[in-house]
Protein backbone atom coordinates (compact mmCIF):
# COMPACT_ATOMS: atom_id res chain seq x y z
CA UNK A 1 0.00 0.00 0.00
CA UNK A 2 2.82 2.40 0.84
CA UNK A 3 4.46 1.22 -2.34
CA UNK A 4 1.34 2.10 -4.27
CA UNK A 5 1.33 5.64 -2.89
CA UNK A 6 4.97 6.12 -3.69
CA UNK A 7 4.53 4.57 -7.10
CA UNK A 8 1.79 7.04 -7.92
CA UNK A 9 4.02 9.92 -6.87
CA UNK A 10 6.83 8.67 -9.06
CA UNK A 11 4.47 8.34 -11.95
CA UNK A 12 3.31 11.93 -11.61
CA UNK A 13 6.88 13.03 -12.14
CA UNK A 14 7.99 10.35 -14.57
CA UNK A 15 5.04 10.76 -16.94
CA UNK A 16 6.13 14.27 -17.90
CA UNK A 17 9.70 13.15 -18.19
CA UNK A 18 8.90 10.24 -20.46
CA UNK A 19 6.72 12.33 -22.76
CA UNK A 20 9.43 14.94 -23.18
CA UNK A 21 11.94 12.18 -23.73
CA UNK A 22 9.82 10.63 -26.45
CA UNK A 23 9.36 13.96 -28.17
CA UNK A 24 12.69 15.65 -27.93
CA UNK A 25 15.06 12.83 -27.12
CA UNK A 26 16.23 14.73 -24.08
CA UNK A 27 16.66 13.27 -20.68
CA UNK A 28 15.53 16.32 -18.76
CA UNK A 29 17.52 16.21 -15.54
CA UNK A 30 15.91 19.45 -14.47
CA UNK A 31 12.52 17.76 -14.36
CA UNK A 32 13.12 16.36 -10.91
CA UNK A 33 14.34 19.79 -9.86
CA UNK A 34 10.97 21.19 -10.87
CA UNK A 35 9.37 18.63 -8.60
CA UNK A 36 11.61 19.79 -5.79
CA UNK A 37 10.79 23.42 -6.49
CA UNK A 38 7.11 22.50 -6.26
CA UNK A 39 7.70 21.16 -2.77
CA UNK A 40 9.58 24.29 -1.71
CA UNK A 41 6.92 26.60 -3.09
CA UNK A 42 4.42 24.60 -1.07
CA UNK A 43 6.55 25.12 2.04
CA UNK A 44 6.81 28.84 1.36
CA UNK A 45 3.08 29.25 0.75
CA UNK A 46 2.33 27.35 3.93
CA UNK A 47 4.67 29.68 5.80
CA UNK A 48 2.90 32.75 4.49
CA UNK A 49 -0.74 31.77 4.38
CA UNK A 50 -0.93 28.38 6.11
CA UNK A 51 -3.30 27.30 3.38
CA UNK A 52 -2.47 23.96 1.82
CA UNK A 53 -5.10 24.22 -0.88
CA UNK A 54 -3.70 27.50 -2.09
CA UNK A 55 -0.27 25.86 -2.32
CA UNK A 56 -1.78 23.02 -4.29
CA UNK A 57 -3.10 25.57 -6.77
CA UNK A 58 -0.18 27.98 -6.96
CA UNK A 59 2.84 25.70 -6.91
CA UNK A 60 1.98 23.52 -9.94
CA UNK A 61 1.13 26.62 -11.96
CA UNK A 62 4.44 28.22 -11.07
CA UNK A 63 6.18 24.98 -11.97
CA UNK A 64 4.41 24.79 -15.30
CA UNK A 65 5.53 28.33 -16.07
CA UNK A 66 9.07 27.47 -15.09
CA UNK A 67 9.01 24.38 -17.27
CA UNK A 68 7.87 26.38 -20.27
CA UNK A 69 10.50 29.02 -19.62
CA UNK A 70 13.24 26.40 -19.40
CA UNK A 71 12.11 24.89 -22.67
CA UNK A 72 11.77 28.21 -24.49
CA UNK A 73 14.75 30.09 -23.16
CA UNK A 74 17.33 27.38 -22.62
CA UNK A 75 16.79 24.00 -24.19
CA UNK A 76 15.63 25.39 -27.51
CA UNK A 77 18.68 27.64 -27.72
CA UNK A 78 21.05 24.73 -27.39
CA UNK A 79 19.15 22.47 -29.74
CA UNK A 80 21.32 23.44 -32.70
CA UNK A 81 24.59 22.61 -30.98
CA UNK A 82 23.72 18.99 -30.52
CA UNK A 83 22.11 16.34 -28.46
CA UNK A 84 24.97 15.97 -26.02
CA UNK A 85 24.90 19.62 -25.09
CA UNK A 86 21.15 19.56 -24.56
CA UNK A 87 21.53 16.73 -22.10
CA UNK A 88 24.38 18.39 -20.32
CA UNK A 89 22.50 21.67 -20.18
CA UNK A 90 19.58 20.17 -18.31
CA UNK A 91 22.06 18.52 -16.00
CA UNK A 92 23.79 21.84 -15.31
CA UNK A 93 20.43 23.42 -14.74
CA UNK A 94 19.51 20.77 -12.20
CA UNK A 95 22.79 21.47 -10.43
CA UNK A 96 22.11 25.21 -10.32
CA UNK A 97 18.56 24.75 -9.02
CA UNK A 98 19.67 22.37 -6.27
CA UNK A 99 22.40 24.72 -5.16
CA UNK A 100 20.09 27.70 -5.28
CA UNK A 101 17.64 25.93 -3.00
CA UNK A 102 20.43 25.01 -0.61
CA UNK A 103 21.48 28.63 -0.62
CA UNK A 104 18.03 30.03 0.12
CA UNK A 105 16.57 27.40 2.42
CA UNK A 106 19.61 25.59 3.75
CA UNK A 107 20.24 21.87 3.59
CA UNK A 108 18.16 20.85 6.60
CA UNK A 109 14.82 19.13 5.99
CA UNK A 110 11.86 21.45 6.48
CA UNK A 111 8.58 20.14 7.85
CA UNK A 112 5.23 20.89 6.26
CA UNK A 113 2.17 20.23 8.40
CA UNK A 114 -0.59 18.08 7.02
CA UNK A 115 -3.83 20.04 6.63
CA UNK A 116 -6.15 19.27 9.55
CA UNK A 117 -8.90 17.88 7.35
CA UNK A 118 -6.57 15.22 6.11
CA UNK A 119 -4.65 14.34 9.25
CA UNK A 120 -5.46 11.27 11.27
CA UNK A 121 -6.22 7.78 10.14
CA UNK A 122 -9.21 5.92 8.87
CA UNK A 123 -10.32 2.39 9.52
CA UNK A 124 -10.04 0.48 6.27
CA UNK A 125 -11.18 -3.04 7.00
CA UNK A 126 -11.14 -4.91 10.26
CA UNK A 127 -8.53 -3.34 12.48
CA UNK A 128 -6.29 -1.97 9.75
CA UNK A 129 -5.79 1.73 10.21
CA UNK A 130 -4.47 3.80 7.36
CA UNK A 131 -3.31 7.44 7.35
CA UNK A 132 -5.93 9.56 5.65
CA UNK A 133 -3.35 11.71 3.91
CA UNK A 134 -1.97 8.77 1.96
CA UNK A 135 -5.44 7.92 0.76
CA UNK A 136 -5.76 11.52 -0.31
CA UNK A 137 -2.52 11.21 -2.33
CA UNK A 138 -3.89 8.11 -4.02
CA UNK A 139 -7.17 9.79 -4.81
CA UNK A 140 -5.70 13.04 -6.06
CA UNK A 141 -3.03 11.44 -8.23
CA UNK A 142 -5.67 9.08 -9.55
CA UNK A 143 -7.88 11.99 -10.57
CA UNK A 144 -5.02 13.94 -12.12
CA UNK A 145 -3.85 10.94 -14.07
CA UNK A 146 -7.35 10.19 -15.26
CA UNK A 147 -7.58 13.74 -16.58
CA UNK A 148 -4.21 13.30 -18.27
CA UNK A 149 -5.21 10.06 -19.93
CA UNK A 150 -8.46 11.63 -21.05
CA UNK A 151 -6.59 14.56 -22.55
CA UNK A 152 -4.13 12.31 -24.31
CA UNK A 153 -6.59 9.79 -25.67
CA UNK A 154 -9.66 11.83 -26.49
CA UNK A 155 -8.74 15.38 -27.39
CA UNK A 156 -7.13 16.88 -30.47
CA UNK A 157 -4.19 18.06 -28.43
CA UNK A 158 -3.67 14.56 -27.11
CA UNK A 159 -3.63 13.13 -30.58
CA UNK A 160 -1.09 15.75 -31.64
CA UNK A 161 1.09 14.93 -28.65
CA UNK A 162 1.00 11.22 -29.33
CA UNK A 163 1.83 11.83 -32.96
CA UNK A 164 4.82 13.96 -32.02
CA UNK A 165 6.08 11.33 -29.61
CA UNK A 166 5.90 8.70 -32.32
CA UNK A 167 7.46 10.66 -35.14
CA UNK A 168 8.06 14.37 -34.79
CA UNK A 169 9.14 15.02 -38.36
CA UNK A 170 6.12 13.28 -39.82
CA UNK A 171 3.72 15.07 -37.49
CA UNK A 172 5.29 18.36 -38.40
CA UNK A 173 4.97 17.77 -42.12
CA UNK A 174 1.32 16.89 -41.64
CA UNK A 175 0.71 20.33 -40.24
CA UNK A 176 1.12 19.94 -36.51
CA UNK A 177 2.85 22.81 -34.79
CA UNK A 178 5.49 20.67 -33.11
CA UNK A 179 7.16 23.52 -31.30
CA UNK A 180 3.83 24.51 -29.74
CA UNK A 181 3.08 20.92 -28.77
CA UNK A 182 6.53 20.54 -27.24
CA UNK A 183 5.97 23.61 -25.16
CA UNK A 184 2.59 22.34 -23.99
CA UNK A 185 4.01 18.99 -23.02
CA UNK A 186 6.85 20.65 -21.15
CA UNK A 187 4.35 22.79 -19.31
CA UNK A 188 2.04 19.91 -18.54
CA UNK A 189 4.88 17.69 -17.39
CA UNK A 190 6.12 20.45 -15.11
CA UNK A 191 2.59 20.96 -13.80
CA UNK A 192 2.37 17.29 -12.89
CA UNK A 193 5.79 17.38 -11.27
CA UNK A 194 4.67 20.42 -9.30
CA UNK A 195 1.58 18.60 -8.04
CA UNK A 196 3.75 15.70 -6.99
CA UNK A 197 6.05 18.12 -5.20
CA UNK A 198 3.20 19.72 -3.27
CA UNK A 199 1.54 16.54 -2.18
CA UNK A 200 4.80 14.94 -1.21
CA UNK A 201 5.70 17.86 1.06
CA UNK A 202 3.62 16.84 4.11
CA UNK A 203 4.16 13.12 3.39
CA UNK A 204 7.93 13.16 3.43
CA UNK A 205 9.82 16.31 4.37
CA UNK A 206 11.12 19.04 2.10
CA UNK A 207 14.87 18.83 1.60
CA UNK A 208 17.46 19.33 -1.17
CA UNK A 209 18.06 15.59 -1.37
CA UNK A 210 14.61 15.12 -2.92
CA UNK A 211 16.07 15.75 -6.32
CA UNK A 212 18.56 12.90 -6.25
CA UNK A 213 16.01 10.44 -4.82
CA UNK A 214 13.41 11.27 -7.40
CA UNK A 215 15.73 11.37 -10.39
CA UNK A 216 17.09 7.89 -9.76
CA UNK A 217 13.59 6.49 -9.35
CA UNK A 218 12.44 8.27 -12.49
CA UNK A 219 15.38 6.85 -14.40
CA UNK A 220 14.46 3.41 -13.22
CA UNK A 221 10.86 3.92 -14.26
CA UNK A 222 11.76 5.14 -17.70
CA UNK A 223 14.33 2.42 -18.23
CA UNK A 224 11.90 -0.27 -17.18
CA UNK A 225 8.85 1.11 -18.88
CA UNK A 226 10.46 2.03 -22.14
CA UNK A 227 11.28 5.48 -23.40
CA UNK A 228 8.31 7.59 -24.35
CA UNK A 229 5.75 4.99 -23.34
CA UNK A 230 3.17 6.33 -20.90
CA UNK A 231 1.49 3.02 -20.15
CA UNK A 232 4.88 1.41 -19.62
CA UNK A 233 5.86 4.21 -17.29
CA UNK A 234 2.67 3.67 -15.28
CA UNK A 235 3.28 -0.03 -14.74
CA UNK A 236 6.97 0.57 -14.06
CA UNK A 237 6.20 3.29 -11.49
CA UNK A 238 4.00 0.98 -9.50
CA UNK A 239 6.63 -1.73 -9.80
CA UNK A 240 9.40 0.56 -8.58
CA UNK A 241 7.20 1.75 -5.74
CA UNK A 242 6.61 -1.84 -4.64
CA UNK A 243 10.26 -2.79 -4.96
CA UNK A 244 11.27 0.23 -2.91
CA UNK A 245 8.87 -0.50 -0.08
CA UNK A 246 9.21 -4.29 -0.03
CA UNK A 247 12.95 -4.21 -0.62
CA UNK A 248 13.46 -2.13 2.49
CA UNK A 249 11.49 -4.60 4.57
CA UNK A 250 12.81 -7.90 3.29
CA UNK A 251 16.23 -7.21 1.84
CA UNK A 252 17.46 -4.05 3.54
CA UNK A 253 21.08 -4.74 2.67
CA UNK A 254 20.64 -4.84 -1.03
CA UNK A 255 17.48 -2.82 -1.48
CA UNK A 256 19.23 0.05 -3.30
CA UNK A 257 20.96 -2.37 -5.58
CA UNK A 258 17.76 -4.14 -6.50
CA UNK A 259 16.45 -1.29 -8.65
CA UNK A 260 19.72 -0.77 -10.49
CA UNK A 261 20.17 -4.46 -11.01
CA UNK A 262 16.72 -4.64 -12.54
CA UNK A 263 17.55 -1.69 -14.78
CA UNK A 264 20.75 -3.25 -16.02
CA UNK A 265 18.99 -6.55 -16.62
CA UNK A 266 16.29 -4.89 -18.68
CA UNK A 267 18.93 -3.07 -20.70
CA UNK A 268 20.72 -6.30 -21.41
CA UNK A 269 17.66 -8.31 -22.30
CA UNK A 270 15.36 -5.77 -23.89
CA UNK A 271 16.94 -2.34 -24.39
CA UNK A 272 13.70 -0.69 -25.39
CA UNK A 273 12.19 -1.35 -21.96
CA UNK A 274 9.51 -3.75 -20.88
CA UNK A 275 6.77 -1.96 -22.79
CA UNK A 276 8.74 0.20 -25.18
CA UNK A 277 8.41 0.21 -28.91
CA UNK A 278 11.18 -1.30 -30.95
CA UNK A 279 13.72 1.22 -32.13
Amino acid sequence: MHGLVYGMLIFLVASGLTLVLGMMDILNFAHASIYMIGAYICYQTMQWTNNFWLALLVAPLACALLGILIERMLIRKVHASGHVNELLLTFGLAMVITEMIKWIYGATPLPVTTPTVLSGSVRLWGDTMYPLYRLFILLLSGIVLWIMFYLLKKTRLGIAIRACVQDGVMASSLGTDVSMVTMTVMGMGAWLAGIAGVIVAPYLSVNPGMFADMITDCFAVIALGGLGSLAGAFVASLLVGQIQSFGVIFLPRISIMLIYLLMVLVFVVKPSGLFGKKE
Partner: protein, 322 residues
Protein backbone atom coordinates in the same frame (compact mmCIF):
# COMPACT_ATOMS: atom_id res chain seq x y z
CA UNK B 1 55.86 21.08 -35.61
CA UNK B 2 54.50 23.78 -33.31
CA UNK B 3 52.45 21.12 -31.59
CA UNK B 4 55.50 19.00 -30.83
CA UNK B 5 57.41 22.03 -29.64
CA UNK B 6 54.49 23.09 -27.45
CA UNK B 7 54.25 19.63 -25.93
CA UNK B 8 57.98 19.59 -25.24
CA UNK B 9 57.77 22.98 -23.53
CA UNK B 10 54.84 21.76 -21.42
CA UNK B 11 56.78 18.62 -20.53
CA UNK B 12 59.81 20.57 -19.33
CA UNK B 13 57.62 23.05 -17.47
CA UNK B 14 55.83 20.14 -15.83
CA UNK B 15 59.13 18.65 -14.70
CA UNK B 16 60.25 21.96 -13.23
CA UNK B 17 57.00 22.77 -11.45
CA UNK B 18 57.77 21.20 -8.05
CA UNK B 19 61.00 23.17 -7.90
CA UNK B 20 59.19 26.48 -8.33
CA UNK B 21 55.78 26.00 -6.75
CA UNK B 22 54.80 25.32 -3.17
CA UNK B 23 53.45 22.00 -1.92
CA UNK B 24 49.84 23.10 -2.19
CA UNK B 25 50.06 23.99 -5.85
CA UNK B 26 51.99 20.85 -6.65
CA UNK B 27 49.14 18.91 -5.06
CA UNK B 28 46.59 20.79 -7.16
CA UNK B 29 48.63 20.23 -10.30
CA UNK B 30 48.73 16.50 -9.62
CA UNK B 31 44.97 16.60 -9.36
CA UNK B 32 44.80 18.49 -12.65
CA UNK B 33 46.90 15.85 -14.37
CA UNK B 34 44.80 12.99 -13.03
CA UNK B 35 41.58 14.66 -14.11
CA UNK B 36 43.16 15.34 -17.50
CA UNK B 37 43.96 11.68 -18.00
CA UNK B 38 40.49 10.71 -16.87
CA UNK B 39 39.01 13.42 -19.07
CA UNK B 40 40.95 12.24 -22.08
CA UNK B 41 39.63 8.76 -21.57
CA UNK B 42 36.17 10.33 -21.54
CA UNK B 43 37.02 12.32 -24.63
CA UNK B 44 37.69 9.06 -26.47
CA UNK B 45 34.06 8.13 -25.95
CA UNK B 46 32.34 11.48 -26.18
CA UNK B 47 34.45 13.54 -28.54
CA UNK B 48 36.05 10.91 -30.67
CA UNK B 49 33.27 8.36 -30.99
CA UNK B 50 30.24 10.42 -29.99
CA UNK B 51 29.02 8.33 -27.07
CA UNK B 52 27.72 10.20 -24.05
CA UNK B 53 28.38 8.13 -20.96
CA UNK B 54 27.08 8.96 -17.50
CA UNK B 55 28.94 6.16 -15.83
CA UNK B 56 32.52 6.80 -16.72
CA UNK B 57 33.50 6.89 -13.06
CA UNK B 58 33.01 3.11 -13.00
CA UNK B 59 36.35 2.42 -14.66
CA UNK B 60 37.97 5.13 -12.62
CA UNK B 61 36.51 3.81 -9.37
CA UNK B 62 37.27 0.17 -10.10
CA UNK B 63 40.87 1.06 -10.88
CA UNK B 64 40.99 3.04 -7.65
CA UNK B 65 39.48 0.25 -5.54
CA UNK B 66 41.70 -2.42 -7.06
CA UNK B 67 44.88 -0.51 -6.33
CA UNK B 68 43.67 0.48 -2.87
CA UNK B 69 42.68 -3.06 -1.93
CA UNK B 70 45.99 -4.48 -3.11
CA UNK B 71 47.94 -1.84 -1.22
CA UNK B 72 45.90 -2.52 1.90
CA UNK B 73 45.75 -6.30 1.91
CA UNK B 74 49.10 -7.23 0.36
CA UNK B 75 51.77 -5.17 2.12
CA UNK B 76 54.66 -6.74 0.22
CA UNK B 77 53.32 -5.81 -3.21
CA UNK B 78 55.42 -3.28 -5.11
CA UNK B 79 53.65 -0.08 -6.11
CA UNK B 80 53.95 -0.45 -9.91
CA UNK B 81 52.22 -3.82 -9.74
CA UNK B 82 49.33 -2.27 -7.80
CA UNK B 83 48.95 0.46 -10.42
CA UNK B 84 49.12 -2.06 -13.23
CA UNK B 85 46.44 -4.09 -11.48
CA UNK B 86 44.28 -0.95 -11.42
CA UNK B 87 44.85 -0.56 -15.14
CA UNK B 88 43.92 -4.16 -15.69
CA UNK B 89 40.73 -3.73 -13.67
CA UNK B 90 39.95 -0.80 -15.96
CA UNK B 91 40.43 -2.90 -19.10
CA UNK B 92 38.38 -5.74 -17.73
CA UNK B 93 35.49 -3.55 -16.62
CA UNK B 94 35.64 -1.65 -19.91
CA UNK B 95 35.44 -4.90 -21.82
CA UNK B 96 32.58 -6.34 -19.76
CA UNK B 97 30.53 -3.16 -19.68
CA UNK B 98 31.25 -2.59 -23.35
CA UNK B 99 29.85 -6.02 -23.99
CA UNK B 100 26.58 -5.07 -22.33
CA UNK B 101 26.35 -1.69 -24.00
CA UNK B 102 27.32 -2.61 -27.54
CA UNK B 103 23.81 -2.75 -28.89
CA UNK B 104 22.66 0.47 -27.32
CA UNK B 105 22.72 3.82 -29.02
CA UNK B 106 21.96 7.42 -28.15
CA UNK B 107 19.96 7.98 -25.02
CA UNK B 108 19.67 4.27 -24.24
CA UNK B 109 23.42 4.16 -23.99
CA UNK B 110 23.63 7.11 -21.60
CA UNK B 111 20.92 5.58 -19.50
CA UNK B 112 22.48 2.15 -19.23
CA UNK B 113 25.86 3.59 -18.27
CA UNK B 114 24.16 5.50 -15.50
CA UNK B 115 22.40 2.38 -14.24
CA UNK B 116 25.57 0.30 -14.22
CA UNK B 117 27.47 3.06 -12.47
CA UNK B 118 24.86 3.35 -9.75
CA UNK B 119 24.75 -0.38 -9.28
CA UNK B 120 28.48 -0.57 -8.69
CA UNK B 121 28.27 2.41 -6.39
CA UNK B 122 25.63 0.60 -4.34
CA UNK B 123 27.86 -2.47 -4.14
CA UNK B 124 30.84 -0.43 -2.99
CA UNK B 125 28.65 1.29 -0.46
CA UNK B 126 27.05 -1.82 0.99
CA UNK B 127 29.84 -4.38 0.88
CA UNK B 128 31.49 -3.16 4.06
CA UNK B 129 33.77 -6.13 4.64
CA UNK B 130 35.58 -5.64 1.35
CA UNK B 131 35.33 -1.95 0.54
CA UNK B 132 34.93 -0.43 3.98
CA UNK B 133 31.55 0.93 2.95
CA UNK B 134 31.02 4.61 3.45
CA UNK B 135 34.30 5.03 5.35
CA UNK B 136 36.34 3.75 2.45
CA UNK B 137 39.86 2.43 2.70
CA UNK B 138 43.01 4.16 3.87
CA UNK B 139 46.35 3.33 5.37
CA UNK B 140 48.94 2.99 2.64
CA UNK B 141 50.30 6.51 2.78
CA UNK B 142 52.89 5.60 5.40
CA UNK B 143 54.46 3.00 3.16
CA UNK B 144 58.00 3.47 1.98
CA UNK B 145 59.02 3.23 -1.62
CA UNK B 146 62.59 2.86 -2.78
CA UNK B 147 63.46 4.84 -5.87
CA UNK B 148 66.46 3.91 -8.00
CA UNK B 149 68.05 7.36 -8.00
CA UNK B 150 66.59 9.30 -5.10
CA UNK B 151 66.66 6.79 -2.30
CA UNK B 152 63.70 6.13 -0.03
CA UNK B 153 60.58 8.20 0.57
CA UNK B 154 57.06 7.67 1.89
CA UNK B 155 53.97 7.43 -0.24
CA UNK B 156 52.61 10.61 1.28
CA UNK B 157 55.41 12.67 -0.25
CA UNK B 158 53.63 15.15 -2.53
CA UNK B 159 56.59 15.75 -4.80
CA UNK B 160 57.08 12.06 -5.36
CA UNK B 161 53.39 11.59 -6.14
CA UNK B 162 53.52 14.53 -8.51
CA UNK B 163 56.38 13.07 -10.53
CA UNK B 164 54.74 9.66 -10.55
CA UNK B 165 51.46 11.14 -11.75
CA UNK B 166 53.20 13.39 -14.22
CA UNK B 167 55.20 10.62 -15.89
CA UNK B 168 52.34 8.13 -16.00
CA UNK B 169 49.88 10.80 -17.05
CA UNK B 170 52.08 12.01 -19.85
CA UNK B 171 52.54 8.47 -21.06
CA UNK B 172 48.79 7.80 -20.92
CA UNK B 173 47.96 10.91 -22.87
CA UNK B 174 50.57 10.07 -25.46
CA UNK B 175 49.22 6.52 -25.70
CA UNK B 176 45.70 7.82 -26.20
CA UNK B 177 46.86 10.24 -28.85
CA UNK B 178 48.60 7.38 -30.62
CA UNK B 179 45.43 5.28 -30.28
CA UNK B 180 43.39 7.89 -32.12
CA UNK B 181 45.91 7.87 -34.98
CA UNK B 182 45.72 4.13 -35.53
CA UNK B 183 43.34 2.67 -38.12
CA UNK B 184 41.11 1.63 -35.22
CA UNK B 185 41.04 5.22 -34.02
CA UNK B 186 39.99 6.40 -37.47
CA UNK B 187 37.30 3.75 -37.61
CA UNK B 188 35.87 4.92 -34.31
CA UNK B 189 35.87 8.49 -35.48
CA UNK B 190 33.93 7.49 -38.58
CA UNK B 191 31.42 5.57 -36.46
CA UNK B 192 30.63 8.88 -34.84
CA UNK B 193 29.68 10.41 -38.17
CA UNK B 194 27.79 7.54 -39.70
CA UNK B 195 27.58 4.17 -38.00
CA UNK B 196 25.44 2.67 -40.75
CA UNK B 197 27.95 3.47 -43.41
CA UNK B 198 30.90 2.03 -41.54
CA UNK B 199 28.83 -1.10 -41.09
CA UNK B 200 28.15 -1.28 -44.81
CA UNK B 201 31.84 -0.83 -45.51
CA UNK B 202 32.45 -4.12 -43.76
CA UNK B 203 33.77 -2.70 -40.53
CA UNK B 204 32.79 -4.55 -37.41
CA UNK B 205 31.29 -1.68 -35.42
CA UNK B 206 30.70 -3.79 -32.35
CA UNK B 207 34.28 -5.04 -32.22
CA UNK B 208 35.65 -1.55 -32.69
CA UNK B 209 33.49 -0.23 -29.87
CA UNK B 210 34.48 -3.10 -27.61
CA UNK B 211 38.14 -2.29 -28.14
CA UNK B 212 37.39 1.36 -27.52
CA UNK B 213 35.70 0.61 -24.21
CA UNK B 214 38.59 -1.57 -23.12
CA UNK B 215 41.11 1.10 -23.99
CA UNK B 216 39.13 3.93 -22.41
CA UNK B 217 38.71 1.70 -19.37
CA UNK B 218 42.45 1.18 -19.20
CA UNK B 219 43.21 4.89 -19.21
CA UNK B 220 40.46 5.69 -16.70
CA UNK B 221 41.58 2.82 -14.48
CA UNK B 222 45.11 4.16 -14.36
CA UNK B 223 43.85 7.64 -13.50
CA UNK B 224 41.77 6.11 -10.71
CA UNK B 225 44.81 4.31 -9.27
CA UNK B 226 46.76 7.53 -9.30
CA UNK B 227 43.90 9.40 -7.69
CA UNK B 228 43.92 7.22 -4.56
CA UNK B 229 47.66 7.70 -4.21
CA UNK B 230 47.11 11.43 -4.21
CA UNK B 231 44.03 11.45 -2.00
CA UNK B 232 45.43 8.79 0.35
CA UNK B 233 42.00 7.15 0.56
CA UNK B 234 39.25 5.61 -1.51
CA UNK B 235 35.51 5.86 -0.96
CA UNK B 236 32.31 5.02 -2.86
CA UNK B 237 32.11 8.63 -4.01
CA UNK B 238 34.94 7.80 -6.43
CA UNK B 239 32.56 5.79 -8.57
CA UNK B 240 29.16 7.38 -8.06
CA UNK B 241 27.26 9.33 -10.65
CA UNK B 242 28.48 12.67 -9.38
CA UNK B 243 32.02 11.68 -10.24
CA UNK B 244 30.80 10.79 -13.71
CA UNK B 245 29.05 14.13 -13.92
CA UNK B 246 32.21 15.91 -12.80
CA UNK B 247 34.10 14.50 -15.71
CA UNK B 248 31.28 15.46 -18.07
CA UNK B 249 31.42 18.98 -16.66
CA UNK B 250 35.18 19.10 -17.17
CA UNK B 251 34.77 17.98 -20.76
CA UNK B 252 32.21 20.66 -21.43
CA UNK B 253 34.22 23.40 -19.74
CA UNK B 254 37.29 22.59 -21.78
CA UNK B 255 35.46 21.47 -24.87
CA UNK B 256 35.43 17.97 -26.20
CA UNK B 257 36.59 18.50 -29.74
CA UNK B 258 40.21 17.62 -29.13
CA UNK B 259 42.92 16.68 -26.68
CA UNK B 260 43.42 20.19 -25.36
CA UNK B 261 39.83 20.34 -24.10
CA UNK B 262 39.97 17.93 -21.15
CA UNK B 263 43.35 19.29 -20.08
CA UNK B 264 42.20 22.91 -20.10
CA UNK B 265 38.93 21.83 -18.53
CA UNK B 266 40.64 20.00 -15.64
CA UNK B 267 42.91 22.94 -15.05
CA UNK B 268 40.05 25.42 -14.87
CA UNK B 269 37.86 23.04 -12.88
CA UNK B 270 40.38 22.12 -10.20
CA UNK B 271 41.58 25.67 -9.64
CA UNK B 272 38.10 27.10 -9.78
CA UNK B 273 36.78 24.60 -7.25
CA UNK B 274 39.74 25.34 -4.99
CA UNK B 275 39.56 29.12 -5.12
CA UNK B 276 35.84 29.67 -5.43
CA UNK B 277 35.16 27.27 -2.57
CA UNK B 278 37.56 29.23 -0.39
CA UNK B 279 35.66 32.42 -1.23
CA UNK B 280 32.09 31.27 -0.77
CA UNK B 281 30.14 28.32 0.53
CA UNK B 282 27.96 28.26 -2.55
CA UNK B 283 30.74 27.48 -4.95
CA UNK B 284 28.69 24.76 -6.63
CA UNK B 285 26.11 27.36 -7.56
CA UNK B 286 28.75 29.47 -9.25
CA UNK B 287 30.24 26.42 -10.98
CA UNK B 288 26.82 25.35 -12.17
CA UNK B 289 25.94 28.79 -13.47
CA UNK B 290 29.29 29.02 -15.24
CA UNK B 291 28.66 25.62 -16.78
CA UNK B 292 25.17 26.53 -18.02
CA UNK B 293 26.31 29.85 -19.46
CA UNK B 294 29.20 28.15 -21.21
CA UNK B 295 26.88 25.63 -22.88
CA UNK B 296 24.49 28.39 -23.86
CA UNK B 297 27.02 30.73 -25.42
CA UNK B 298 30.12 28.66 -26.15
CA UNK B 299 29.05 25.06 -26.70
CA UNK B 300 32.60 24.27 -27.78
CA UNK B 301 33.93 25.01 -24.30
CA UNK B 302 36.92 27.20 -23.56
CA UNK B 303 39.01 25.69 -26.32
CA UNK B 304 36.15 26.22 -28.73
CA UNK B 305 35.80 29.82 -27.60
CA UNK B 306 39.51 30.42 -28.14
CA UNK B 307 39.26 29.05 -31.67
CA UNK B 308 36.21 31.22 -32.22
CA UNK B 309 38.07 34.37 -31.25
CA UNK B 310 41.12 33.34 -33.22
CA UNK B 311 38.86 33.09 -36.26
CA UNK B 312 37.45 36.55 -35.55
CA UNK B 313 40.82 38.19 -35.33
CA UNK B 314 42.50 36.28 -38.11
CA UNK B 315 41.87 39.15 -40.53
CA UNK B 316 44.36 41.19 -38.53
CA UNK B 317 47.06 38.63 -39.11
CA UNK B 318 46.32 38.35 -42.76
CA UNK B 319 46.35 42.14 -43.09
CA UNK B 320 49.77 42.33 -41.49
CA UNK B 321 51.16 39.64 -43.74
CA UNK B 322 50.08 40.98 -47.10
Amino acid sequence: MTKIAGTAVLFVLGLLCPLILGKFHVYLLSEVIIYSVFGISYYLLLGHTGLLSFGHAVYFGLGAYTTALLLCKVPALPLPVAILAGAFAGILSGFLIGFILLRLTRIYFSFATLAIGQMLWAIAWKWRTLTGGDDGLTGWSSRNVVLPLFGECTLSNVTFIYYLVFIIGFFCIFLTWYFTKTPLGNTLSSIKFNANRTGFLGINNAMAKLLLFSFAGLIAGVSGSMFILLKKMVSPSFLDMFMSFDIAVISVIGGYAGFAGPIVGSFVYVFMVEYVSSLTENWQLIMGAFFVLLILFYPGGIVGAVHHFKGKFSFLKRGAGS
